[in-house]
């Protein structure tokens, strides 16, 4: 028997792994991978709510997760283009060494 709490626990664990990856990696692509993991956890929550919570129109949770996937795709495209542009500028995508905006 799958219950709502089981889905929420899985999503919480996935979110914290994503948070750890996003905060601890030095490579810009690594940080992006953590963000994608967190967005996946959020989507899993939305799908779980659409499946188990009482609602006049339960399909809305799935529509929301489609929108989240859309925004994640746009974000990934821009972030990876930024990574390539930064690499051309500094020959590195190590975020510890990115200080061109420093005053």
């Amino acid at each position: 028997m799958i219950d709502l709490e089981h889905v929420l626990v899985v999503a919480a664990l996935l979110f914290s792994v994503g948070l750890f990856v996003a905060l601890s990696k030095r490579n810009a692509v690594g940080i992006l991978m953590g963000i994608e993991l967190m967005l996946n956890a959020v989507n899993l929550n939305l799908i779980g709510f659409a499946r188990f919570v009482e609602s006049p129109r339960p399909i809305d949770g799935q529509v929301f997760s489609i929108f989240v996937i859309t925004v994640a795709a746009a974000e990934a495209a821009v972030a990876l283009a930024l990574a390539v542009a930064v690499y051309r500028l500094r020959q590195s995508i190590d975020v510890d060494r990115l200080n061109i905006l420093k005053w």
Partner: protein, 170 residues
């Protein structure tokens, strides 16, 4: 609907998803990390199917497993071999504690809250048709805004990596 096979599939997919997410955090090579990330995305798509969201599962495979992973692999391969390190910052342990605390708080709230559960859950007969109707009736404005966002993101990405823009001239 709710038979043992679905439950077993759910827990197997949970193990696959969380295990490969942990491998993303620990493995040393960035290419391997992306490959484990793809496995994690596939696991989440399987979880969507067990939660009767088949259209979203197909979209997940198309967008995440298909597009975003290929984009990441290309971004890694456009940078040389020395840039493929998946190292953590030196103070990774407190970050791990912080992430664990956040997860613990979310789990605590999830069990503490009285969710308004539907009896036996909502089962969807055809999700694609219902999602299509929802996108064209109550969600028209967000739908159009999302298309504008995609166009802007595409133009921005092209502009950023075009030779002659930013940094050295390509």
């Amino acid at each position: 609907m709710e038979d043992t096979a679905v439950v077993v599939a759910f827990y197997v997919l949970v193990v696959v998803t969380l295990g490969s997410a942990l491998m993303v955090a620990t493995v040393r090579d960035l290419i391997h990390a992306v490959l484990f990330l793809i496995l994690s995305f596939v696991g989440v798509a399987g979880l969507y199917i067990t939660l009767s969201a088949d259209f979203v599962a197909v979209v997940q495979v198309l967008i995440y497993v298909g597009a975003i992973s290929v984009l990441m692999l290309f971004a890694i391969m456009l940078t040389p071999r020395t840039g493929r390190d998946n190292a953590s910052v030196p103070f990774a342990a407190p970050i791990g504690v912080l992430a664990g605390l956040v997860g613990a708080v979310i789990i605590f709230v999830a069990f503490k809250t009285e969710w308004a559960k539907a009896d036996g859950g909502n089962s969807f007969e055809t999700t694609a048709a219902e999602i299509g109707r929802a996108l064209l009736d109550p969600f028209v404005i967000p739908f159009e805004v999302a298309s504008v966002l995609l166009v802007v993101a595409m133009l921005g990405a092209i502009l950023l990596v075009r030779p002659g823009s930013g940094g050295d001239a390509g």
